[in-house]
């Protein structure tokens, strides 16, 4: 079993190395076999481990030993990590298989490069969830950031892609710092990095240290999961190829924050403010993202904002302590969002990479199979019974409602409003892009080609899962709770619901979301209530939403430009701050004497002056220290 646990990591690693090093110019068929193959192999390993009911911390060797600081290379196999591995390798396998068809237009080198990156990404993600200590968690965490950077910038000849990649990377690195500092705080306070030793050492009552550590880890979580206020990278990340969006920006990477909170649940259970912050950030992000999704016209961006919104639900759930509800929503979201992205990918593929919904229409006739699957995903996203999204969302909101305190009701209410908005923008997407008659701006005028089998089969599998997956956990109708039971060894018992009212709330949510979905038809197809009229009346609102609440502008103003200025300023330190006036004089000399133009800086004397000034500062410090 020990070898098998390691094999989960070794398969994608081997695949990545093979494709990256040996198969640059190798056979295309081999690439198409190896790329998804290794992920399926890892999936099989996970299944075997699951079948044998393994629950153990495997230590392979001790990586670092320095006094009390000891980092073993260990893989923690428990129900939580297996659950995550199932999602990553299962859904990931489907997506990478789908990519075999989607990326077919790439050149051979690019084709291998794509699958190499994908395998590396899956590897990093698996390290992240399998790590048994905080150091390896950081390794995986940063590795995920790096590979996502590579994948977003996959079309590196497109400037926008490169910029988006850089933006994602910077945001992720901000998160990494939080993460690293959090791990530092934990290590310094409790002298442990291994989870199984760290968690028992945590106090059970809140104190400043645990709050601080939990907040810092949360910074890592919100950056990776694109929650407020570190969310701006996710919509831009849609510059990557669609399978990347499906894998990274829907199913796996962005849910890492949820996993993090669940993994560190002993820490969050011991805190008050940090834990509540998780719920509040999640709820606010859910509402915020859903409102922006109302006005987006790029289909992948709509999906991106809906991803943010759904992850907000997950944060909300883990923030109120309903960990397995959050993870169930993670699972369900992985199903339906990957489905939506891939079905949308089929359409984009058929329409020659046009992502603007306004140019769509008539797809119901031309691409029936993709449309049906997209409908399943949409209904699930909107939370319509009996799709998986209904059950998981109901689970989250029900837990919030039955919590019975102010926080619970508050986040429930936000979640409820979001659910209605979700129904509306999902409906808009569906009616507008698929149901409406073909737009005259459609880039492909005639009949559209349905996607090839290799792309349709994974979509179909996910469609089936989306339709029946809800029956894993049907608390809403008083049934069983397989996910709760499965995760119980790690996350503990879920609360028993005592409040009967929440079923009423559930019905209310369902009805209103369904009505909103239907109302979108009136809005966008029948034109009973014209969007143009609304826009005329509330133009400022639309503008705010279209500019995404001006977050990008805010960051540019608050961070990017001052940093540029600061860097420019220090740049001139050598030149003019110290040699005040030297630049002008230098320019004067240049004009006057021509030859004497080498004079602006690099003056030895000012170097010596700075040196002596440094000595004076040092002397002040030493004197101050000695006299105190």
């Amino acid at each position: 079993m020990q070898a098998l646990a390691l094999a989960i990591l070794l398969f994608p690693a081997a695949g990545g190395i093979f494709l990256g090093v040996f198969n640059w110019r190798g056979s295309r068929l081999l690439t198409a076999m190896v790329g998804p193959g290794v992920i399926w192999a890892a999936f099989v390993c996970v299944l075997i481990l699951l079948g044998n009911n393994v629950d153990q911390d495997f230590t392979y060797w001790t990586w670092i030993r320095a006094g009390s600081f000891e980092v073993p290379f260990d893989i923690l196999i428990d129900h939580l990590s297996l659950f995550m591995c199932l999602v990553i390798t299962g859904v990931g396998g489907l997506i990478v298989t789908y990519a075999v068809g989607y990326m077919e237009h790439e050149t051979d080198g690019s084709y291998a490069r794509f699958f190499c990156y994908m395998d590396v990404f899956v590897l990093a993600m698996l390290i992240l969830v399998l790590a048994g200590n905080t150091v390896f968690l950081i390794v995986g965490w940063a590795g995920v950031g790096l590979s996502s950077y590579l994948l977003i910038g996959f079309y590196y000849w497109r400037r926008s892609a490169v910029i988006a990649a850089r933006k994602a990377f910077v945001m992720n690195v901000i998160g990494d710092i939080g993460m690293i500092l959090g791990a530092f705080v934990l290590f310094v306070s409790y002298h442990q990095v291994v989870y199984l030793k760290l968690f028992p050492a945590l106090p059970h009552t809140p104190d400043a240290t645990t709050e601080l550590a939990a907040f810092l880890l949360l910074v890592g979580g919100i950056a990776k999961s694109a929650q407020l206020p570190l969310h701006t990278w996710l919509p831009d990340a849609m510059e990557g190829p669609t399978p990347v969006s499906a894998l990274i920006h829907a199913a796996t990477m962005v849910t890492a924050g949820v996993y993090l909170v669940a993994r560190f649940h002993p820490l969050y259970d011991a805190t008050i403010y940090a834990h509540a912050a998780v719920a509040i950030i999640g709820a606010v992000t859910a509402l915020f993202a859903a409102s922006i999704a109302l006005v987006q016209t790029d289909i992948k961006r709509v999906l991106a904002y809906s991803t943010m919104s759904q992850i907000g639900y997950m944060f909300l759930a883990v923030g109120i302590g309903a960990y397995s509800a959050g993870l169930f929503h993670l699972l369900s979201h992985a199903f339906f969002k990957a489905l939506l992205f891939m079905a949308a990918g089929n359409v984009i593929h058929a329409l020659h990479d046009d992502q603007d919904m306004r140019h769509y229409g008539g797809l119901w006739h031309d691409m029936r199979r993709s449309s049906v699957t997209f409908l399943a995903g949409s209904l699930s996203l909107a939370g319509i019974i009996p799709f998986v999204g209904f059950f998981s969302k109901e689970n989250v909101l029900g837990e919030a409602f039955s919590r019975g305190d102010g926080l619970g009701y508050a986040v429930w209410f936000i979640g409820f409003v979001t659910a209605v908005l979700t129904g509306f923008y999902t409906g808009r997407m569906w009616w507008f892009a698929f149901w409406r008659p073909a737009s005259e701006e459609r880039p492909v005028a005639g009949h559209l080609h349905e996607a090839p089998l290799v792309m349709l089969v994974p979509v179909a599998v996910l469609a089936v899962l989306t339709t029946v997956g809800g029956f894993l956990q049907i608390k809403a109708i008083g049934g069983w709770a397989l996910v709760d039971d499965f995760l119980k060894p790690v996350l503990g018992e879920e609360r028993i619901r005592t409040n009967g009212l929440e079923y009423l709330a559930t019905v209310l949510t369902l009805v209103l979301a369904a009505l909103a979905f239907a109302a979108a038809y009136n809005f966008w197809i029948r034109g009973t209530w014209s969007p143009a009229g609304w826009r005329a009346r509330y133009g400022w609102g639309a503008r705010v939403l279209e500019r995404k609440y001006y977050f990008d502008e805010l960051y540019d103003w608050a961070f990017v430009r001052p940093l540029d200025r600061l860097a420019g300023f220090t740049d001139r330190e050598d030149r003019s701050l110290i040699d005040t006036g030297a630049v002008d004089v230098g320019a004067y000399t240049e004009r006057g004497a021509g030859a004497l133009s080498l004079t602006q800086t690099g003056f030895l004397r000012s170097y010596v002056l700075v040196f002596v000034a440094g000595v004076v500062i040092a002397a002040v410090l030493v004197l101050w220290r000695a006299s105190s």
Binding site: A66, G143, V162, V170, A626
Partner: protein, 498 residues
């Protein structure tokens, strides 16, 4: 009546002392042979032969040091003026390794630039002798002489390209500011000698106790020495020379200097401050904390705006000096081991990066602008991939060695209570990601339309070196446990006194 009669120095003693400085002897012998050979052989043969001699000398130094380290030999020699302990052996191995790499790179470089070869190798060997003595020093006198030996050898190497003004300018600047800093160090040493009556570090360690902290002579001595040491590791605000000197010097010299001087200077700081003046901790710590913080901020910010890789790496070196100082400040077993570990990793990643840049130089000059790297990954995939590895490692990206080095340094720093400094270090190292990744953008950008400024010459030597450095930089990540153990062994002699 004469004291000389009492001095007995037997042949056995002489042999044992000589064995303690075995690696230094090996390099010195190579140096002397090289000088003689340089005079005797016809011009065409000199370069290759001297190169071979240098490599043989360095490799045998490496072997001797490794042998002695493994067998646990080592102790003071020559009336405690020099020591062959594990700390010294660790650095001697490190310098021998860098030396081999540097000799190979410069051999290829000077041929491409059409310069004389033999003298540069002789100077490199001399600098290595100086560095090794510095790491092995048991007395302030040895420290000073080692420092001067390496500095003077480097002054000359910087101006090695005698017909180009930048090279000359770099040498002159380095010499004048370096001499200025040396005078500071020396005055500090004189004051320490005045306060303690000895220059032997172990005696100083016993004579300086914590209650002598108020002694102005010691205080001033620490201040002046600390300033000079900070200069040598190019920590801000004593770093002003670094970018200019790095940019002007011939590339292999810059590469060698950027890593070896830094390692040697840190060996010196550890010897003198952490060991000799351990009881004055609070006094020198405040000074080094100030320079560390200044280095991290200034180095990282200035590096962002550079257009030349040499200058960027110079400022990044300033920043790294700041990080390493965190470990020095932390002190103790963990801190010193972390410093040794980081230096070992840093040496290979930084040298590797410079070696990559050195392959871009041709008869026309050095290709050290970002633009010169465009499409490197497609022109020479090996170099491209390894350059990316070095940059990731310098940026402290897991699972490269740079990441683990930072983990060790910062954990040691936090454990010792330097939390504010570590937080600053983490923040600034995030800033550093920005400029390291800029290099990656250029390396992986598509091939330029215009013809590249510098085509590849015969670069098999440097490529080998880069490959070696890359292997070290990558392999050290997984092997970090082992290396840290070696570092801990090396730290032990410094701490046994207390």
């Amino acid at each position: 009546m004469i004291a000389a009669a009492q001095v007995t120095y037997t042949a056995a003693q002489a042999w044992s002392d000589l064995a303690q400085i075995g690696p230094i002897v090996a390099v010195t012998v190579a140096l002397l042979v090289a000088v003689v050979v340089d005079l005797l052989l016809p011009r065409g043969l000199r370069g290759p032969v001297v190169t071979v001699i240098a490599i043989v000398g360095l490799v045998s130094a490496l072997a001797i040091a490794a042998y002695r380290l493994v067998n646990g030999y080592g102790g003071p020699a020559y009336f405690r003026f020099v020591s062959g302990d594990a700390f010294a052996l660790f650095f001697e191995m490190l310098f021998a390794l860098i030396g081999v790499l540097a000799v190979i790179v410069s051999s290829s470089y000077v041929r491409r630039r059409g310069l004389y070869e033999a003298e540069l190798q002789v100077l490199t060997l001399a600098a290595i002798v100086g560095m090794m003595s510095l790491a092995a020093a048991g007395s302030l006198v040895t420290v000073f002489l080692g420092l001067e030996l390496l500095s003077i050898a480097l002054y000359v190497s910087c101006g090695y390209n005698r017909i180009e003004l930048p090279s000359q300018e770099s040498a002159a600047k380095y010499l004048i500011i370096g001499g200025f800093a040396s005078a500071f160090v020396l005055y500090g040493m004189a004051l320490i000698y005045g306060a303690t009556g000895t220059t032997v570090l172990s005696d100083i360690a016993t004579r300086v106790t914590s209650d002598s902290a108020g002694n102005p002579l010691l205080l001033l001595g620490v201040l002046l020495m600390g300033v000079g040491f900070a200069f040598k590791v190019s920590a801000a605000p004593f770093h002003m020379w670094t970018p200019d000197v790095y940019q002007g010097a011939p590339l292999p010299v810059t590469a060698f200097m950027s890593v070896a001087t830094k390692a040697a200077a840190f060996a010196m700081i550890l010897r003198v401050f952490n060991y000799g003046l351990g009881h004055l901790g609070p006094e020198w710590q405040v000074l080094l904390a100030f320079t560390a913080a200044a280095s991290m901020v200034v180095g990282n910010l200035m590096a962002i705006v550079q257009a030349s890789l040499k200058r960027m790496l110079a400022y990044s070196g300033v920043a790294h000096a700041g990080y390493i100082l965190v470990g020095v400040l932390a002190g103790g077993r963990a801190g010193v081991a972390a410093v040794l570990f980081y230096l070992f990793g840093y040496v290979f990643m930084n040298f590797g990066a410079f070696a990559v840049v050195s392959t871009l130089s041709g008869p026309a000059g050095d290709g050290d602008l970002y633009e010169d790297l465009n499409g490197l990954a497609y022109r020479n995939p090996t170099l491209g991939v390894l350059m990316s590895v070095f940059m990731l490692s310098l940026a402290g990206f897991p699972p490269m060695v740079g990441f683990f080095g930072k983990v060790f340094l910062f954990t040691a720093g936090i454990s010792a209570g330097w939390t504010w400094l570590v937080v600053l270090a983490v923040l600034t190292s995030v800033v550093s990601v920005y400029y390291y990744f800029r290099v990656l953008f250029h390396v992986w950008s598509p091939l330029p339309e215009a013809p590249v400024r510098f085509a590849f010459g015969p670069v098999r030597g440097p490529v080998t070196v880069v490959l070696l450095a890359g292997v070290f930089a990558v392999a050290l990540g997984p092997l970090s446990g082992f290396l840290l153990q070696v570092g801990l062994n090396g730290a032990a002699p410094l701490l046994s006194g207390r």
